[in-house]
Assembly symmetry: C2
Homo-oligomer: 427 residues x 2
Amino acid sequence: MNAPNQLSANEALEVISGGQMRVSTLVQACLDRIEEREPTIHAWQYLDKSARLSEAKACDSNPTKKILHGLVVGIKDNYDTHDMPTGYGSPIYARNRPAADAAVVAQLREHGAIILGKTVSTEFASSPPPVTRNPHNPGHTPGGSSSGSAAAVADYMVPVALGTQTLGSVIRPASYCGVVGFKPSYRRISCEGIKTLAESLDTVGIFGRSVSDVELVYRVLSKTAPAQLDDYQGPTALALCRGPDWDKADSDAQSALEKFSERLRAKGIRVDDIELPESFRDLAVATRIIHDMEMWRAFSDERVRNFGLISPELQVRFESASRLSVDDYEGAINKGIRCRQELPGLLKGYDAALTLSATGEAPAGNITTGDPVMNSPWSLLYTPCISIPMLQGRSGLPIGLQVIAPRFHDAGALRAASWLHRNMQEK
Amino acid sequence: MNAPNQLSANEALEVISGGQMRVSTLVQACLDRIEEREPTIHAWQYLDKSARLSEAKACDSNPTKKILHGLVVGIKDNYDTHDMPTGYGSPIYARNRPAADAAVVAQLREHGAIILGKTVSTEFASSPPPVTRNPHNPGHTPGGSSSGSAAAVADYMVPVALGTQTLGSVIRPASYCGVVGFKPSYRRISCEGIKTLAESLDTVGIFGRSVSDVELVYRVLSKTAPAQLDDYQGPTALALCRGPDWDKADSDAQSALEKFSERLRAKGIRVDDIELPESFRDLAVATRIIHDMEMWRAFSDERVRNFGLISPELQVRFESASRLSVDDYEGAINKGIRCRQELPGLLKGYDAALTLSATGEAPAGNITTGDPVMNSPWSLLYTPCISIPMLQGRSGLPIGLQVIAPRFHDAGALRAASWLHRNMQEK
């Protein structure tokens, strides 16, 4: 058996419910791993080790049949927690103690999970890079804004963690960190209690090391039926959708995806190149306009009362967002509505669409969390998106394959992604 | 000149900026009115009179050119305020002190307004009736959930106040209390910092005693250009849209609207009866499903940790909501999307559509805040809705005329409503 902190969520739950492992053992193993690696990775914003060990012991002396009994979960620090500080990545909220748990945190607890601690978020889940480092190479960014959650799962500190995606804050860090990241359909899961960044885009996301682990957490939070990953026999037809911003991807990432498509075709799976129509051009621009206008509005209190505590980078973004017009914003909202109407027809007949999860490998250094351009159009299209670690860049760092389906076809996207992840690893 | 508390927002701002009235005078007059009437009306959840008088004095000694300098505003107690308790209408939050202002509260302050206090909200802005009474007849409900804001404006305690609408919580209480209520297009104004009830429906709303007062506040919060109410020469064509639930309206309300339409026609204005197509049937049912599912999700923390502090009425609603299926919910979401696509075509060529703001007069007693069925379809259609006090029921209580336009045509709806309010009062 693997070390407890290396178990998948499903494996851990199985051995806990079978009496072969105590919850305390799992929590201790995760804490030990964090103890060892945190000085390098900086994935955690808040962690109360003794409180979590006590909680684990209480679980052990009171075994339940709850579906997530004893599962250890990391939560991005833009989710409210009633018993842990919640800083939203900003010094303005250094002493913030919310009155309640975010809806999904309460749901995880209701179903038996242990919230291990709060993971590092970039400032207000926006772009300024945080201290967190990429477990595959600490000289590189883990991506953002769900930096801590992606890195913690990649580094075996927790089996699963929650993040949020507004432009590309789940799929991109999953890609850079070589883990599975899932952004479900918009409104499949409640955003209550998450610090608002952009209301029209904010979505709960889940990180894990297998598709079945993210599917488990997703199913609990969305109340959907099991996606029956194991019953799926593999895709018949896939749409290779380079997307409107393909030219922004690095050449090694482009050729890794092309090569992967060839391997699929060699396996007898139909892979059709599909071109999104002209109306989908500039979707990333439209998404950015919605993001900036809604962010500018949402952070009114912070702008008015605490502008000096906002980073210079965000200050500049607020200033430029303040000049956006309502017409530009509503044009972008309407563009999103029209493209969302068109998409299901374009993907009809395919098990899923494939594209890159990021423009390439994780950038070196700490001046950017990377470009969300491969993600933001899909955020505005409200589709389920799953990043699975299937590709590699020129320096050997992971690049994610992004698996996409129409809105509310989350189960289909999960089935395709799970099959690809288990059957298409390069030997 | 009227007593200061009877001035409209526009009048008050004019005399303040012209040096004919001090901000302190306005605040004192509002507080005096509250002192006199609050024991009957119960509109206020929180009020710190001396703090507000100090704030007013500071305004007087530091005059600014801010557009809302010295305007007194009431805020429903489901908006976060950093300097006032925020109870969301629930004992669970009796000691809640938010870390920040809701976005629109911060924006009002940024533009010079004084937040007079927090007005009574029903429990979690949902249906259980609060203590607030209708100023037109304290034996009747003011409606809900924005009970305190509607009553406070109707009773001359403040010139304007903010509420929220999820099903019908702005338009209905405005109708019952005989004031102007405006629910702008969905996403015209940020909902950040408002306690989430149902993410797909929650909308900021504004109460005032004239359309130009709500237009002023709306314009500040939405960053839109002035609606130029005075340049408008009156409607050419209006759509009389009884709506899918006309048979649920009282006969006196029905005939008041029919009679009003006849008066319009007698003035030479074209008023066409328009029938919404079959696809719009059961929109109120779809809206209720979305409301219940999203409410059930949003209040996970309260359900899990404080179920005993939830009212029996809401407990029952949570229990029934817990049995809703994801398929029903998403069917309702998709129905909303389809009907929103169809609506602009149906209203093409009309200055606005007219319908009832409520099924009739405010119900007597205190066992219900009234039926939102005349409102909830429009909430899901994301349209601007304005209630203007133009009609009367059989016992002489007010009934609102609801003026509607397609999404993002808020200026058009405001212009039509303002013209009707000023030119069609029964002599």
